[in-house]
């Protein structure tokens, strides 16, 4: 049911998230865009599990757990950087240059 549309929606969400990561400069917003990408993948898994069995839905729980762990670590890192620079804008974070 709705497999094609569901996959299309999740592909669009994923692309929006990826575009946000590349275009925005605020570390918190970039992190939110990454979460959007992960949740787009979750939608893909749920949509596919209609046909492929319950595995897809189990994966979603793993992804959510991993995303939570990443959020905990990531926000702590953002705070550590904020304490030095009073900013989470990546344009101001330029001590290391490639």
């Amino acid at each position: 049911m709705f497999l094609g549309p569901a996959l299309a929606v999740s592909a669009i969400l994923f692309a929006l998230g990826a575009a946000g990561v590349l275009l925005r400069r605020n570390a918190i917003i970039i992190f939110m865009c990454i979460e959007l990408m992960l949740n787009a993948v979750n939608l893909t898994f749920v949509a596919l599990s209609q046909q492929l069995g319950v595995d897809g839905q189990v994966f979603v729980f793993f992804v959510m757990t991993v995303a939570a762990a990443e959020a905990a670590v990531g926000l702590a890192i953002v705070i550590a950087v904020f304490r030095h620079r009073e900013s989470v804008n990546l344009e101001n974070i330029n001590l290391l240059r490639g």
Partner: protein, 508 residues
Amino acid sequence: MSLDLQKGLGLLIALLPETILAVWAMALLLVAAWTHKDPRALRRIGWVSLAGIGVAFLAVAWLWTAHPRLEGLPTSVAVDPFRWAVDAIILLGAGFAVLLSIGYLEREGILIPEYYVLMLLATVGMMLLAGGEDLFVLFLGLELMSVSSYVLAGIDRRREASAEAALKYFLLGAFASAFLLYGIALVYGATGSTKLGFIGFQVQSLQLATHPMLLAGLALLLVGFGFKVAAVPFHMWTPDVYDGAPTPVTAFMAAATKAAAFAALIRVLLRAVPLLHDTWSPVVWWLAAATMVVGNLVALNQKSLKRMLAYSSIAHAGYLLTALVSGSVGGAAAFLYYLLFYTLMTIGAFAVLVYKGRDGERTVTADDLAGLAESHPWLALFMTICLLSLLGFPGTAGFIGKWYILTSAIGSGYALLATIMVLASVVSAGYYLPVIMAMYMKPRLHAEVHADVSVPRVMRGVLTAVAVALVVFGVWPSGLLKTARAGARGFLPDEVVPISQGVPAAPK
């Protein structure tokens, strides 16, 4: 010995090294929570974590020599010599990095016992990543490794460079993980399974070689892995992160993290999609060529030794990708051989930086090592052996490794790529040799300039052993080459358990 992974005991034995290390890490976390933050307790926790790595290494060695064979259906973890070989390399790298950290943390004032716990957990993640036969085990291993590494990169958070490195690593690492995960989802959608063996079977039986969903999934997987192994054009984060992180962590990331991600990539390509070799080999070809050329050329421009070694590690990712292009067992064997010595020589070179530098080692340049041979002849000799081996100088293990990769590439008809690799290695002399020249041919600025460089006695033994290994296996490689070939045999069709039942329903 035969193992049935459907039963609890079989699974426990197959995952014995990971289980030991994970339990060890969690016990150590409890101990760390109850100890005071003084240097002696920190040192003790360092040695205990090293012991854990040693026990896990013994478990790997036991499993390797016991030759376990799978009975019943293949499941989510691999039981093959390739896994044991990569596990052994990862544990060597982790042990070396822990040894480097023991004095370093005190000197830099990073009195955080959880450092060692994170290092052990990252190692568990790497071992799962290298041994996962299921895209999901692979993903969980990758995340365990990555999340621990994000914290390790920023462990010295009072230093701005360290915090910034952690932020960059975290944002780009999570971005790459999302690509990898979407790739897994699409491959799952196209084949109906995440188990590598089943995927390979489905690709053949359903003739999915041109299925758009599978190809899109594979492309996304390659992007995700490209970020993790720091292949050009996905390498932008590497120099900054390697520069900002504490040096033992940099060594750990450059060696062990890369080894694990490469092992997972090679396993996915050779187990799940060997039939699509014609599709993925041009992509890997271009990645390898671009990585070698860009890595070596940019390294020429670096003043800071730490950044130079970071770009050198990017260049070496290109050499390892070259071993992968052919998709043959010979390539996998060359990969294993080179990986072992890449790990040793990279951590060795970073070790010298650890003992020379202060305050994150960001400012050490080649000229700061001037005259090291006069005051520390032995340390200078060790650095020279490591750099010559990284360069691929004849008589060192790095030369044999490169030669073996070249043979496998030429043997499979990739002569142009082999030529690029030789030329890129010639370019790399332009940044390795000035360091050696500075150590041997330039005078010291003043007599006391290297007075604060002191290597603990244990590390002297370890560094000597590494130097001896680099030379010995550069002159008599045959024994180890045989082991590497045996390690890669797991990818031969006759070694793989046939899949005759339990294939999931075909997707519509």
